[in-house]
């Protein structure tokens, strides 16, 4: 019994202590706030603490006390009400609607009541943070803050109310300024049309044309590289007799990934055969295969380099973001300008879109190799290359394989876009379905692409997952 009495008396001592500095915090009306804060701290549900000044002065009560969050909330709510009021009062053509007027007034009243009841609660919260850090947290009331609030008010209210209240704000404004700034002051719509835009676009056209001519060698070189890989894959997949290809793929699946995956692959291949989509699928696979292979070949070394060098990694971040978020159609345009149409540009577009995951995930994997493990390796006298080969890459493998998986899947998602610029295969079939709104055809072709994707993914992940 005694213990619980002590506990409770300590409790009330504690809350008395908590309220000691209210006076310093509020500067005025100390007794009132002490009472209200005490009420708030003792309450369990919503503390009904009414503050008339807060209700009347609204946002400015909050502003002067540095409660900017609630200032903005209430300012914008009241702006909404003011705009509605303006529309009803000043609208030239519509007749004044009594009911509307009363509704708006009720809305204002609701907002004011809200302001009145929330004021002290927010103020008390601010008091508690001020207790912890009196130098950083604002206290007291300052006219300068209220004046700042007033400035915001003036910036927002007149223009907004005016714009919503009258029908032709631009013209009326210009009439008032006697045509000083032209016959239409643009506050409804932004002032600039596409004048600068056209000029810049023309200049960019010129740059592209210059590049297409002068860097032709580079572009042809890239095209040649892509064609060589693509050609090889096509020869294996398309020109070889289909039973041989079927058999080889099944053996590959079985060796690399086991019986289940081989069965799954068999199922997918049978689907493609029955639907007569074999040749198209093989074209798509050749395309995707080339794209993915080149992505992995180029991407992993870049990822490793970025993983080891944090400065380069920071620089590369925005570039990779750019490559991933830019709509593919955007970089299709320069690709067509430099590479023409057909399969190589399709592969290139796929590479640009699909390479960021493998670069990022490789870099992440390398970065996440634990420091102490690398230190231990160095303590046993490994060279930098041995560190990379025997420690960093094996430990980064989970991440790298995730990157490979993501790259393959993203390559596949590019098939339709690649077909837009002339790549043949299932993408072209889907494009056709889109153009003719052939739903069934589109679904079946889509399924074929899905099966290709899953098969390639399961086979390539096979040795790792086993």
């Amino acid at each position: 019994m005694d213990q619980s009495k002590d506990f409770h008396s300590n409790h009330s001592n504690h809350s008395k202590k908590l309220l000691e500095q209210v006076g310093t915090f509020v500067r005025r009306n100390e007794t009132y706030y002490k009472k209200e804060f005490s009420k708030i701290q003792k309450s369990v549900d919503f503390p009904f603490s009414w503050n008339t000044a807060a209700a009347l002065l609204g946002p400015f009560w909050n502003a002067s006390r540095g409660l900017w969050g609630s200032f903005w909330c209430f300012l914008l709510l009241e702006l909404f009400v003011a705009v509605q009021m303006g529309r009803v009062l000043w609208h030239e053509s519509e007749t004044t609607n009594q009911t509307l007027f009363i509704l708006i007034f009720l809305l204002l009243l609701t907002i004011k009541i809200w302001e009145g009841f929330f004021a002290n609660i927010l103020y008390e919260k601010r008091y508690l943070s001020w207790l912890i850090d009196p130098d950083r947290v604002s206290s007291g009331q300052k006219m300068s803050r209220a004046a700042l609030g007033g400035l915001f008010f003036l910036c927002l209210y007149p223009m907004t109310i005016f714009r919503f209240a009258v029908t032709n704000p631009d013209e009326i404004l210009s009439r008032w300024t006697h045509g000083f700034l032209g016959d239409k002051i643009p506050i409804t719509l932004p002032p600039f049309k596409r004048e600068f835009f056209s000029v810049l676009a023309k200049w960019a056209d010129g740059v592209f044309e210059w590049l297409a001519v002068n860097w032709n060698g580079l572009f042809e070189g890239i095209t040649a590289a892509i064609i060589s890989v693509l050609g090889g894959l096509e020869a294996i997949l398309i020109q070889t007799p289909w039973p041989v290809t079927l058999f080889l793929i099944l053996i590959l699946a079985f060796q690399l990934a086991g019986r289940r995956v081989a069965l799954f692959t068999g199922g997918c291949l049978i689907y493609l055969l029955l639907m007569g989509l074999w040749e198209m699928s093989m074209m798509t696979v050749a395309l995707i295969g080339t794209g993915s292979a080149l992505c992995i070949l180029i991407g992993i070394p870049i990822g490793v380099a970025l993983g080891r060098n944090s400065k380069a990694n920071a620089l590369a971040g925005p570039i990779l973001d750019f490559m991933q978020t830019m709509p593919a159609f955007v970089y299709l345009i320069p690709i067509i300008a430099f590479f023409g149409t057909g399969k190589p540009p399709g592969v290139l577009a796929t590479i640009i879109f699909a390479i960021p995951p493998i670069i990022r995930l490789t870099a992440l994997g390398i970065r996440n190799v634990p420091g102490p493990t690398k230190e231990a390796a160095r303590a046993f006298g490994c060279s930098e290359w041995q560190l990379l080969k025997d420690v960093e890459i094996p430990l980064a493998m989970p991440s790298i394989m995730t990157g490979v998986n993501q790259t393959i899947l993203m390559s596949l998602s590019m098939v339709v876009i690649a077909s837009l610029i002339g790549a043949e295969g299932l993408g072209a079939l889907i494009l056709e379905s889109l153009q003719y709104a052939a739903k069934g055809q589109g679904l079946l072709a889509g399924l074929a692409i899905l099966f290709c994707a899953m098969t390639i993914d399961r086979i390539t992940q096979g040795p790792y997952r086993k």
Binding site: E375, A376, A379, F380, G381, C382, Q386, D390, P394
Partner: protein
């Protein structure tokens, strides 16, 4: 093995080690030499180190003036061939930082470090690599085994990186695994092993390259107490058999006393006291060291030499009578053993030096009072 046998083997080991050390007295080629090594972390580290040296600043003063943390302050010590040199200190005392200077995993801000006679701050990258893979082995607190390699591959790593043939790697790895008691675990993977077994693999790996120096960074701290004692015993046996120079880091004073031939106590980056376990226990240099000493039992550390009464102080009549019945003990016998001897006879114990000359006497009063003091 049971407790008494373990104690006996520890004691025996210590006696053997003492003898060995004394043999080397004349011709000491120091294996590791550290001279005035400073390590300061932070952007203005060189400046801070200079100032700290000049003006004898404390760690806090350096932090306030330069915003740099002092890791090591003016550390100097030597390690002799074949000895186990324990560096003991609390967290933040700089002991892990210190051991990483010996194989230059961390670069000192200033000072000289000589390993096997070579200034390791002066040698090139390739020579440093050769030094690490041929002459220095390291054991880590959290083992740091490669999870994708088998136990055998982990152990033979230093050899593979050195370019040895596969056959030699296999053979040596198996031999090292045998010496730590893991003969049949070669094909297992680290995640299948317990903590104690993993650390044995770590020790095997450190021994694989047959290095001259072993650096052990709190190797047993992450293990549970029973396994820890077991591994300490195994380590003692190994280090006698292999005669390697070992620098052993620990935060456990009783572990340092048990394993070390000499101990360096560190505090806030400074070496506070260096000495044999006995020296430190009998003459702690300040209250900090005294605090550690007070917490352990000293009857296994104080030797007959430190408690005996000089025989010249006894009257000649003492030489008559019972003297020939008295048991004789070498002067490095520990109190522990003296209690066993004293409990079997009423005669006082005579203490002899290396030449078997009688030099001191321990009677029951002296023995009991020294136990009281410990």
């Amino acid at each position: 093995m049971d407790r008494s046998k373990r104690q006996a083997s520890g004691f025996l080991a210590r006696v053997m080690k003492d003898h060995r050390k004394n043999d080397n007295d004349g011709n000491k080629e120091k294996t590791i030499v550290l001279k005035e090594v400073w390590k300061v972390f932070g952007p203005r580290c060189k400046e801070a180190a200079e100032a700290a040296k000049r003006d004898a600043l404390t760690k806090e003063e350096v932090f306030h003036r330069f915003g740099c943390t002092v890791g090591l302050a003016d550390c100097s010590f030597d390690v002799f061939p074949g000895e186990t040199f324990c560096i003991m200190g609390l967290s933040g005392s700089g002991k892990s930082t210190l051991v990483r200077h010996i194989n230059r995993l961390i670069e000192p801000t200033s000072g000289r470090i000589l390993v096997l006679g070579k200034d390791i701050l002066d040698i090139g990258k390739e020579e440093l690599r050769a030094m690490r893979s041929h002459h220095i082995g390291m054991v880590f607190q959290h083992m740091e085994l490669l999870p994708h390699c088998s136990v055998r591959d982990n152990v033979s790593l230093p050899l593979r990186w050195r370019g040895e043939s596969r056959a030699l790697c296999w053979e040596t790895a198996q031999r090292c695994l045998d010496s730590v008691g893991l003969e049949n675990e070669g094909e297992r993977f680290p995640h299948e092993l317990s903590g104690g077994m993993k650390q044995r693999v770590g020790i095997a790996r450190a021994l694989a390259a047959d290095p001259d120096i072993l650096l052990m960074d709190e190797p047993f701290s992450a293990l549970d107490p029973l396994i820890r004692t077991q591994l300490q015993d195994d380590f003692i046996k190994l280090s006698i058999a292999l005669k390697k120079t070992t620098v052993f880091i620990t935060h456990d004073f009783s572990e340092a006393i048990r394993l070390g031939d000499r101990i360096a106590v560190m505090k806030d980056g400074r070496v506070v006291q260096i000495g044999t376990p006995e020296d430190i226990v009998i003459n702690p240099i300040n209250s900090y060291v005294k605090e550690f000493v007070e917490k352990i039992s000293k009857i296994k550390l104080m030797s007959a030499r430190s408690i005996m009464k000089d025989i010249s102080k006894y009257p000649p009549s003492f030489y008559g009578g019972t003297i020939n019945l008295s048991p004789r003990v070498p002067f490095n016998t520990y109190i522990d053993r003296l209690i066993d001897i004293a409990s079997e006879t009423d005669a006082p114990i005579i203490v002899c030096d290396e030449e078997k000359k009688d030099v001191g006497v321990i009677d029951k009063t002296i023995l009991l009072k020294s136990i009281q003091r410990s």
